[in-house]
Symmetry: C2
Subunit: 150 residues, 2 copies
């Protein structure tokens, strides 16, 4: 099954309408799966495509809804606009948590996701102390190899 079809399926099963704006947002996210996009960037890409005109507010509302439906992830970096990215196909609409672990270069601003994760150990300790429903956000910043060597 294609991702776009799964997204439409999720909308339908939640009694939400398949609107042009929702399709446009989904398409932009699909075309930029390797990136983290801000609401503003998504809005501009829709505008540029000229396929359909819409309002920035609608983009905000749709992104908020998509996060609720677990279609996308919202990633926050200190003092910046939230960045969004599509979840993997098999996790679309599910409660499976995506790990949010990013390195961000303080110079060239590149954002590199990384997969190794030791946080579960900390979460295990918290769970053993009575904490529940744990989720986390980890952000490592510094200089990437390119910026370190120049």
């Amino acid at each position: 099954m294609k991702k776009i079809d799964r997204i439409l399926e999720i909308l339908k099963s939640n009694c939400l309408r398949i609107t042009q704006t929702r399709i446009s947002v989904a398409e932009v996210l699909l075309k930029n799966e390797d990136k983290l996009l801000t609401s503003e960037e998504i809005f501009q890409l829709i505008k540029d495509s000229k396929a359909h005109k819409c309002d920035q507010v609608s983009v905000y509302r749709i992104l908020t809804k998509f996060v609720e439906l677990r279609i996308i992830e919202k990633n926050n970096f200190q003092g910046e606009a939230s960045k969004y990215s599509l979840r993997e196909l098999d996790k679309l609409g599910t409660k499976a948590l995506k790990h949010e672990h990013y390195f961000k270069c303080n110079r060239c601003q590149i954002i590199v996701p990384f997969t190794r994760c030791y946080v579960p150990k900390m979460e295990k300790e918290l769970r053993e102390s009575g904490y529940t429903n744990l989720e986390h956000h980890l952000e490592i910043k510094g200089l990437c190899p390119d910026c370190s060597s120049s």
Copy 2:
């Protein structure tokens, strides 16, 4: 040596003036060492004390300066105003990084700092790949024990 004296010493050694507003900000932070305060809260506490009147903008500027001078730490939580806290006496003005590891309850909003940290392992891997000047921010959210059991 007292913390307040060390703060004034840092200001002097950086050729910055000891002003009433800077003293007020330092005093509020000292009186609330166990908490993380927002700029707005610090401003209100100064206003309430009536010891001295000042502007919100000055508080912003002073906090920014104090962060630069490594007198305080700036802690960011998703979509919220930055929260500030004094550093430990022996770390005031030094480059020693404070670990920022917080648990935040999604229900009662309590923020609990925790000390155990596995992040250095991730940072070690990044350093071995050529990354430098690493710093991090980790935020774990969920329900605290009290909220979990009620």
